[in-house]
């Protein structure tokens, strides 16, 4: 029944070592989002894909990239993780672009630790 799946649930990486987080969905939704949630803070939108159209938030660091090879999968690449990138990373999907009228479905998140 899992609809938005994130792997792994826990990821440990070293300072400066590239890391990739994975998200997949069984809902066939057009839109996929990545949020960063630091400890005791609000989830913050990093970027989203509408189909193959990539949309970056203005304040998302260049260190963060994303790929969406097909409808079902979306990846978050952190090229050179710093200690400040330790956070929970949440993937979400919605059927269409207008978040107001479409529900966003969230995965369980991947907790990233940077040593």
């Amino acid at each position: 029944d899992a609809m938005v799946i994130q792997n792994p649930r826990y990821q440990v990486t070293q300072f400066g070592k590239p890391v990739t987080l994975s998200c997949s969905q069984t809902l066939n939704h057009n839109v996929m989002y990545w949020y960063q949630q630091k400890s005791s803070q609000a989830p913050k939108l990093l970027f989203h894909y509408y189909d193959k159209d990539f949309n970056n938030e203005a304040d998302t660091p260049d260190n963060f990239q994303s790929r969406r090879p097909n409808t079902s999968f979306c990846f978050l690449d952190i090229r050179s993780p710093g200690l400040g990138d330790a956070a929970m990373y949440l993937c979400a999907t919605s059927e269409e672009r207008l978040a107001g009228t479409d529900t966003q479905y969230f995965g369980p998140g991947t907790r990233l630790t940077v040593l």
Binding site: A42, H48, A99
Partner: protein
């Protein structure tokens, strides 16, 4: 740009007591409003949303929220809480036109005491 303020980081409540979780927002344009719940080790789940119409919105698990435009608030309420309601609750907004993602508050941890 919009912002969301959840004034209480933690709210302890006895089981079967009523609860209100406060949310205020700021925006220069019209917004849609949401409440999400996050149970331990799980993703965010939509509780309810306000798009238009009646200002009192009913959601899942017995929760409801009231939109107050003059006070720019969207407080969440439940008349009688259960142990299973222990979770993190997030208020969020998005612009009616042009926005794609959600802007979240910092969350309120609801702690139900037996």
């Amino acid at each position: 740009a919009q912002s969301v303020t959840q004034l209480d980081s933690q709210v302890p409540v006895f089981e079967e007591a009523p609860v209100e979780l406060r949310c205020n927002y700021s925006s220069s344009v019209s917004v849609y409003l949401f409440w999400y719940v996050q149970y331990p080790n799980q993703g965010l789940q939509l509780l309810l949303k306000y798009l238009s119409g009646s200002t009192l919105v009913k959601g899942i698990n017995g929760f409801e929220a009231e939109f107050n435009k003059s006070q720019t608030s969207f407080h969440l309420r439940k008349p009688s809480v259960h142990i299973s309601d222990t979770a993190e609750y997030f208020c969020a907004v998005t612009e009616v036109v042009g926005a794609d993602g959600l802007t979240f508050g910092k969350g309120t941890h609801l702690i139900i005491q037996p």
